[in-house]
């Protein structure tokens, strides 16, 4: 469902951040991207939804190459790709439910969007999603009053509000304690299994990756070094990925 072909990205001449990336990702997969710090995980993830403009290659999603879409087409496609962030990126001063409804802004016309006009169906869906992420009762709390784990679950509900095919997650649990991390990752895993949503997750904890992943992509110095189903990944491969020498 998502095919990345010959993707290249260079920020500074002579130091490519992504080198000829080729990966194929299936529907409903929980894909974990692993690799040492600075390997290019964030760059790869953000190249998918065009937050970063890559230099060459293809990103094929639903029969279209996202790299060559015009602004309007890109906005259409972005609605189908949710994203959650390490720092949650919520509007802290607004309520939980308002933040969840923000997931729908891409589908609104200009005026509805600017004034935040949402239909009853949308509001009911937002409430239902908050139950799904176990935040019933928090609907009208300000996001600034929530814990990190709760904020991340609001972020997930906001992404789900888009009706996405894919959710991109850049270090979603890096700011969370172990218990909250497990809760967030359990939730993402459930989405892949029950809703067939594809989750692509950057992690730096190998143990968590092995617990949750269906597919593991290992990146080192901008190049794919591992690209296997989890069952095919062994300790030696992971050691080589993080080894500074090889």
């Amino acid at each position: 469902m998502l095919e990345i072909k010959h993707l290249n990205k260079t920020y500074k001449a002579g130091r490519p951040a992504l080198k000829d990336i080729n990966v194929s990702i299936g529907k409903g997969q929980f894909v974990v991207i692993l690799g040492p710090s600075g390997a290019g995980k964030t760059t790869l993830l953000r190249s998918i939804n065009q937050l970063i403009t890559s230099d060459s290659g293809e990103i094929d999603f639903e029969d279209q190459n996202l790299r060559v879409l015009n602004k309007q087409q890109l906005r259409q496609k972005r609605q189908r790709i949710g994203m959650i962030f390490q720092n949650y990126n919520l509007v802290e001063r607004l309520t939980v439910i308002e933040n969840v409804l923000h997931g729908r802004l891409g589908q609104k016309n200009l005026w509805q969007g600017m004034f935040g006009v949402f239909s009853q169906t949308e509001k009911q869906e937002a409430l239902r999603l908050l139950q799904e992420v176990d935040l019933q009762g928090f609907e009208l709390k300000n996001c600034s009053d929530l814990s990190g784990g709760q904020k991340q679950r609001v972020g997930i509900a906001r992404a789900l509000m888009q009706h996405p095919q894919i959710i991109l997650c850049d270090e979603p649990v890096a700011s969370l304690d172990p218990a909250s991390s497990v809760m967030v990752l359990d939730l993402l895993k459930k989405l892949t299994v029950e809703k067939g949503i594809t989750c692509i997750v950057n992690l730096h904890q190998v143990d968590l990756a092995l617990d949750y992943a269906d597919q593991i992509i290992g990146i080192k110095a901008g190049a794919v070094q591992i690209n296997e189903p989890k069952s095919q990944v062994d300790k030696a491969m992971l050691q080589a990925l993080y080894d500074k020498e090889s």
């Binding site: 939804n49 001063r93 923000h102 200009l110 700011s175």
Partner: protein, 272 residues
Amino acid sequence: MKSLENGLNYQDLQTQLRQKRHKQFWTLLVVGGSYLALSWLLHFSNTIGIWAIPKSFSWLFINFVPHAQTMQTLPDILSKLLATIGLAISSAFIAAIFAIGLVSFCAPVMPHYLGVKRVVRLIASFLRNIPLVAWSMLLLFTFKQNDLTGFLALFLMSLGFLLRAFLEIMEDESSQIAEALQVTGAGGLVILCRGVLPTVMPQFVSWILYMIENNIRDATLVGILTGTGIGFVFDSYFKSLRYDLAGITVLCIIVVVIALENISAQLRRVIA
């Protein structure tokens, strides 16, 4: 997080700290040195300067204490004071509206219309670097002594100040939320209204409150120059040697400024 991920090590930290200390030392040296050099140039003796302070205080105390007669003029003073407060608030408020409008063009999601961002930055530093007194003088030539002159001087000063403050807040606070809404497929204006402005607004309001406080003090000064409001009242009492009346005028200003600072402190607590 950034420093963690990029792995700032102990060596780097030490170098950074040392550089910072060096910078502080040299700044101190340059500032102190220029102060001494300047005072020597201006034949200003530090010791005489310091000894003059208690003397002036006792002069102030003897001459500026109001007495019973003073109170009769109080209503007049208060009405002028009210006009000055109005001037301060309206200039800050209207400047805030303009500043929010202009700074909105600089939100990260807005398209780059023909270098609008650079123009806004230029306006900010231009307005900001011309002192209030200079504005008043310039405007005096054009509009003569009236309330409009005072208003425009305060407005332009506030606009420059708020623009600079808002630009900085916008830069620091808005990129993450803008990104989060961008990925939902929302467009620039929607992101601005739903994400960016709600995020920065509490801090904006805090600066606007500060601007109002500041403008009340400045409006007094501007009033002296433009012959309006409480500043004019103070100036004319002072020049006609009615120090008791000048004293009560200053007292009124102080009371208002303190009251206003308290009110805005309360307001800040509410919005925070």
